[in-house]
Symmetry: C2
Subunit: 348 residues, 2 copies
């Protein structure tokens, strides 16, 4: 059993005693110290990925920008590659992805391909819209959201195993940082009607089936002010919108991912607690060795769990980790979110 | 930050981004692959432990049979050693431990020191009793329990940090394997009255204060048929009776241990779910490469979480791992415990 990339997935794998090998472009990746075998190399280099996978039974990813040709070659050589390279190819180009939704009658925001700024000017009446690089966008990079005030952004993570068993995590609501264009915080479950909940899950499951994905598919959606649900984009891997599942659900997205790609029975996704996730972004105006100001006050609050990514240096808006907050009561949860956002700062 | 020994504590430490070094006598210890630094060596050898600790800020343990002279020397050299060597010395000799309870008016089963079998014959009217080696007993080894039918065994884990803050986990009930003399399964919370619950917690907290321990203290107690609570013994470390806290409580015993020895605010011990823990013991009549028969049927049940220790070979009653089961409903929990105990077998 081997994985390309992945800290949290690895931690879950320990409990199942899977042997794991990780490829990461960062020689000091946090996962370096906890892999049975760690390879430092480019995920985009054909030879590197091919060589990495040659002694693997199963290969998976935690980031889409991987050399897909190499994964396809490994697949031809009989390796299990999940998510499938064909799905990665579909998703990797956001223009093809958009077309795929149209072809499969999946609701998505209308889109136009713009080549330059003046193009963009012609579509002022076109909001909400997301302006993205056709390729290589990741975690907000290369993505520019043009929002209107009053819509929500929802996400649903669907797991599908090799036998086609499907299980879906509860719907979450994401709130984006206005400048950084990263999820700033998240609430699980989303405060939406049962009707919208079911509709979002149904769309997410249909999307996973349409792709025929094996593994996780995180489906990000817009809920418009008219109650319309539109697919924004998908991620074929454990996702920021599922980090809280480690603390709030029967099975975490990371364990579920492992179960799916190894064709084990999928776990129950039931949430035993309400949860919020606050991304820890480097404070504006600070660059250098990271200091986590206010950490002690925060962890003194019940149910506040920091997950630091082991990055030594901070810079404005760099994602340094996240904090999961679990509570039985939604109002208390919101109070703790506000407390953590006010107290906890990544400075230098 | 460095630890002597410890898989689970380490996993929790990742989230806090602590750098950890582990000493383990087993060259293939499961923790080997997930430590920033792994040293293979004897925990009982003075020079080994001393050398290991010399570049440490803080040293802790997950097993008591460690060279205490070396820990004392490290303490003299200004290292933080938690639990304190003085406490380890008190606890290491069960005869001194027993006397300590007497001296501190802590309720404990009466005891006599027996040197041989014929001695033992003279104390037939002395049940319930536990026959233990004076030293070196661990996990039931060197311990022979002489039980009567109708008492319960309870355990309470207390955490105490450097500032003396104390937090206590809910009381659990342990059921022992008749032959293996290992905890066979555990229920959290114990099905006992509020009065007994409070009394057990109070005794556990008094005991932790009496020792002045920094870290965790697991206090094992007998609840006699007359409702009397007697301390059986204590363990100054994360304990089998707290494994379920990873899945059922706001903070796990492992994270709590780290918080205590690093003098961080202690976490809330609130249980969001009811839990059971089933130890995975090697099936009688099987020795060799371990096979986990029935694993898939078990993990298909919601809330069933295996924790395998990565041991390659099984033998009768060898502790190969454990399974934590979480449920909201106590009857469902019991059904799942029975299911797991019936289905899941470690064979070769």
């Amino acid at each position: 059993m081997n994985l390309i990339h992945g800290l949290f997935v690895y931690v879950e794998a320990i409990d199942f005693d899977f042997k794991i090998k990780i490829l990461d472009p960062d020689a000091d990746a946090p996962c370096k110290f906890i892999a049975h075998e760690f390879v430092n190399g480019s995920l985009k280099d054909y030879e590197t990925v091919l060589a990495f996978g040659e002694d693997c039974d199963t290969v998976t990813i935690e980031i889409e920008s991987v050399n897909i040709d190499a994964l396809e070659e490994l697949e031809r050589r009989g390796k299990k590659i999940y998510p499938q390279p064909s799905v990665l190819r579909l998703i990797q180009d956001k223009r093809i992805q958009k077309q795929f939704y149209k072809d499969n009658n999946l609701p998505t925001a209308d889109f136009v391909l713009t080549e330059n700024q003046s193009d963009l000017e012609n579509y002022k009446d076109f909001l909400p819209a997301v302006h993205k690089l056709g390729k290589e966008g990741y975690d907000g990079k290369g993505v520019q959201v043009i929002r209107t005030a009053d819509e929500k952004e929802l996400a649903v993570i669907v797991a599908r195993n090799v036998d086609g068993e499907v299980k879906t995590f509860p719907v979450v609501e994401m709130v984006f940082h206005p400048e950084a264009n990263l999820v700033e915080y998240l609430f699980a479950p989303a405060e939406i009607s049962e009707e919208i909940t079911n509709k979002s899950k149904e769309i997410a499951e249909k999307t996973a089936e349409a792709f025929g994905i094996i593994g996780l598919l995180a489906v990000e959606m817009f809920l418009t002010k008219d109650g319309e649900i539109l697919i924004n984009e998908v991620a074929p891997r454990p996702h920021n919108s599922g980090h809280h599942t480690i603390r709030a659900n029967d099975v975490s997205q990371f364990e579920q991912h492992l179960r799916a790609i190894l064709n084990l029975p999928l776990g129950e996704t039931h949430a035993h607690s309400k949860a919020a996730m606050v991304n820890l972004l480097g404070e504006e105006g600070y660059s250098g060795e990271a200091i986590y100001e206010g950490m002690n006050e925060c962890i003194a609050q019940g149910g506040v769990h920091p997950f630091l990514y082991g990055k030594r240096f901070t810079k404005p808006f760099r994602k340094m980790g996240h904090v999961t907050i679990v509570e039985q009561d939604f109002e208390k949860l919101k109070e703790k979110v506000i407390f953590v956002k006010r107290k906890l700062k990544v400075i230098a």
